[in-house]
């Protein structure tokens, strides 16, 4: 082979970036590239290097462009990084545009026939004859399209210095026991590696060097973490309807339930899972199952919450428990269904008509996705109300490295439920009476024998004894008590997490913005601006949040939506501090990155 394959070297003799770079892979969706990209990510992870992956995929099954970004970071930063040091261009449709957007000095691996090397002179090109290599390494023409992507994994492994044994292990892990597929993919990957060894000179622009940062860590996505939380929380009724990006939460749950939720004596199932006809019906199942004493849940995204909102108002008013997962995506309407956003903050905070206020949990890490999902079922039964667990596509569907989850040893809190004996003993029981002064009444479950405790739940006006009433004083009693119940929740929802640098300037964010905020905070500090970061983890706001708001001179509220929805909630809750809240926003559908936060805060500071 005579190819004049230049050994690319860092532009301007810059220092080699060790374990600190981003790779962007451009492919066509439905071509099996997801497997190849995950293998590459996993191989770097197995090299002991902190790594994160973002799949930018289209709302389509096959044939549209898709990009996958892998970021390695020795410092442990896992947010999306806007600039990339390596590009792997496999999609003819987007290759020219990808080249135009590339950062100067980037390494470009591309499919040889695309002839991209004339487009710019400030990039380091590595053309690869993928078709030739795949023909030689894979005897099955039908499978060429699928294994072709494995070849770039081999080439990249060679250029980055990744141990091929780790790549092979990653393939075996990814394809779990499918012997033939594992062999086929390992062969293709090796063909790419061998070709690169023979034909490419090494480069010292970016490198993976074995480290020990990932020992004992897991790789997981948020939907799976939430599904596991629900599994351990003992959910017994699931009503759901497919929607991107929330479907895999229930689908993963179904897989785990198959193994872990069978009665060992009878082999029968201890959970009912029904794919309903729509989100309205899913909400009905969740609330009525909760009403009848089950631990119930659904998983959906913004449009689903909109459809459920009539029922959620009913659940709030009749005080029926249930857990609603909202894996948020880019709205409004169909919007960008495969892109991320935090634009359902206000929707979930006050979902439904009339006066409604809901407990919301905002996990920001994989461990919190697990733990908060577990806690949500306790909160639902304790407060007898719909609980929202709000994540987003970035948390829910992307790969994250995490510490293994801690076993949730705390026993379930099934709330104030009166059994037959307690009902027999209690005098003057009223379903909606505030006996303890915390706004939380006592309930009874359908089917309880003994002839006491039956009542009719109704969405129409009712008094403390659950009787129909249109009297203003009865209506006010219930509504005021519901507000009191919400106040009580302040002491039971997870409080915020702080990352303080000793400043009277605050940065406040929640959920998937966390990695970008941490990185931005460090960048700002290097530039001389210290901040105190509060990561909000729940609604209602707890006492620590009150204090923080009162103490800070300015609070930069970072969120991934256009209208500053969380900042709006803060202005409404703390009107005397309303002018303190400055919105730092990112809402183009891509995951938030540190640079956009640094730029916006810097601009505010210069005003």
């Amino acid at each position: 082979m005579t190819a004049a394959l230049a050994a690319p070297s860092p532009a301007g003799g810059a220092k080699t970036r060790i374990n600190d770079f981003s790779i962007q892979v451009a492919t066509v969706n439905g071509s099996g590239s997801q497997t190849a990209n995950t293998v590459l990510l996993r191989a770097i992870f197995q090299m002991g290097v902190f790594v994160s992956g973002k799949n930018l995929f289209p709302s389509n099954i096959a044939g549209l462009p898709t990009w996958f970004t892998i970021r390695a970071s020795a410092q442990g930063y896992v947010a999306r990084k806007a600039s990339n040091e390596m590009l792997i261009l496999m999609n003819p449709e987007t290759a020219k545009e990808d080249i135009a957007k590339a950062d100067p000095g980037a390494l470009v691996i591309y499919d040889e026939p695309l002839q991209l090397d004339k487009l710019r002179s400030d990039l380091a090109y590595t053309p690869v004859p993928f078709q030739k290599l795949v023909t030689a390494s894979c005897p099955e023409p039908k499978l060429h399209k699928l294994v072709k992507n494995m070849i770039y994994v081999g080439v990249a492994a060679r250029l980055l210095g990744i141990d091929m044994e780790e790549v092979k292990k990653a393939i075996a892990k990814q394809l779990k026991g499918k012997t033939k597929a594992i062999e086929l993919n390992q062969t293709a990957c090796m063909a790419g590696y061998d070709w690169a060894m023979e034909n490419l000179e090494d480069q010292d622009h970016i490198k993976v060097v074995r480290d020990n940062k990932t020992q004992g860590l897991i790789i997981i996505d948020g939907n799976e973490a939430c599904a596991l939380g629900a599994l351990f929380a003992g959910v017994t009724v699931v009503g759901w309807y497919p929607i991107t990006p929330a479907s895999s939460l229930v689908e993963t749950f179904i897989e785990y339930a198959d193994e872990y939720r069978k009665d060992p004596k009878t082999g029968k199932s201890t959970v009912a899972i029904v794919q309903m006809e729509d989100e309205l019906a899913s909400a009905g199942v969740v609330l009525s199952a909760g009403w009848a004493g089950a631990r119930s849940m659904t998983s959906t995204a913004g449009p689903g919450i909109s459809l459920m909102s009539e029922f959620i108002g009913l659940g709030y008013y009749v005080e029926a428990p249930g857990v609603f997962f909202n894996v948020a995506r880019t709205g409004p309407s169909t919007g960008l269904p495969t892109r991320t956003q935090q634009s359902d903050v206000e929707l979930c905070a006050k979902c439904s008509h009339g006066d409604t206020l809901h407990i919301n949990l905002y996990p920001g890490t994989m461990e919190e996705c697990f733990q908060f999902s577990y806690d949500a079922f306790d909160l639902a039964e304790k407060f007898q109300t719909p609980i929202f667990v709000v994540t987003d596509l970035d948390l829910g569907m992307q790969n994250w490295a995490s510490k293994p989850f801690t076993y949730p040893a705390k026993p379930y809190d099934r709330g104030k439920v009166l059994n037959q004996q307690q009902l027999a003993e209690v005098k003057d029981w009223g379903r909606y009476k505030d006996v303890d002064g915390d706004g939380i009444p006592y309930r009874s479950l359908p089917g309880t024998p003994g002839g006491k405790g039956a009542y009719l739940t109704r969405g129409s006006g009712h008094n403390a004894y659950a009787q129909y009433s249109e009297k203003p004083e009865d209506y006010l009693e219930v509504m005021d008590r519901l507000k009191r119940k919400y106040e009580t929740a302040k002491s039971f929802v997870p409080g915020p997490v702080f990352r303080n640098q000793g400043s009277d300037k605050g940065v406040l964010a929640f959920g998937s913005s966390d990695p970008a905020v941490i990185e931005a905070q460090d960048v700002l500090a290097e530039g001389g601006l210290k901040t105190d970061y509060l990561r909000l983890r729940a609604l209602p706001f707890t006492a620590e949040v009150d204090t923080y708001v009162k103490e800070k001179k300015v609070v930069y509220v970072v969120e991934q939506n256009r209208d500053g929805q969380l900042a709006n909630l803060f202005r409404e809750t703390y009107p005397e501090h309303a002018t303190k809240f400055k919105s730092v926003l990112h809402f183009d559908g891509y995951a938030i990155d540190a640079k956009c936060i640094v730029d916006q805060i810097t601009a505010f500071e210069q005003k």
Binding site: L287, E310, Y412, Y455, L456, G459
Partner: protein, 350 residues
Amino acid sequence: MTTATPSAPVPAAPTNKLGFTKQDYVGSKSTLCAGCGHDSITAQIINAAFESSIEGHRVTKYSGIGCSSKTPAYFINQGWGFNSVHGRMPSIATGASLANRTLINIGVSGDGDSMSIGMGQFVHAVRRNIPMIYIIEDNGVYGLTKGQFSATADKGSHLKSGAVNDFPPIDPCTLAIELGCGFVARSFSGNPKQLNAILKAAFAYQGTVVLDVISPCVTFNNHDASTRSYKHVKDHDFPLHDLGFIQYSEVEEVEIPAGQTEIVTFPDGSKVAIKAIHEGYEPTDRFGAMKAIHESMAKGEFLTGLLYINPTQPPLPEVLNLVDEPLATLGEDLLKPSPAELDKIMQALM
């Protein structure tokens, strides 16, 4: 001066097998219009539950919104009730019946609640064979919003205001048969005997019972130009058969007449005795039932009785292979995987 007249001893109210009197099956006082057909249906639910010795505390009553949906407050106070949102009763019944499979589920809906806003949920609840008696109190009109047409109103039917319905009706019974429902019946609120027999059979059935009860609205739809008026329905009611229901515990004692009477046996051993009036009607023949109903509708008749029966279909909790005890009361020991199991899951993710 008055003297106390010696009063005759008050005869004790009759009790059922559980020792309950009929009074134990009543509910709160109805607030519907005097003479409303729905109240007659409520009365038969009470009678059938009493006579079938239903355990009141196991009864759960579900409804949506509308006049019909108010009625769960008027029967079986020993049972729990859930009056939900418009058209969504079926999903409420679905969730609760899964949470506790020992409940006896009665859904009461109307023609607006089920055939318009709630059509989607009706269809899918029937498809899934939710264990419930699904009663549609069918008056062809929206009563609670003061008299608009519903989707079961006959084409050409008039409102009190004179407005004419331009659209064909939806028939819940043929629809239910089409969807695979194994117990489809129609009755008339003015025929208590038939309604009682159907309800008793319904209590013994395991899956979804669809029971369409023509129930004239005395306030908004009882005039001469309505096809849902008392007079019109009485004139056009065509009972298919004399229906008898024999509970499993009584089967030995009751002599079942031979000949014209067909017997359908339920999985629990209860029997429905069907003595045909309409010649050649075969309630276990799905296609024949569809044909007969369509033919009678074309003639402007209401065919009433047990239209279709197939007692062998498994209800949803069986399809899902759920444990026998209520999911709602399962203990943490059965629900929460062990620390070792979490460890195993974590290892697989490393």
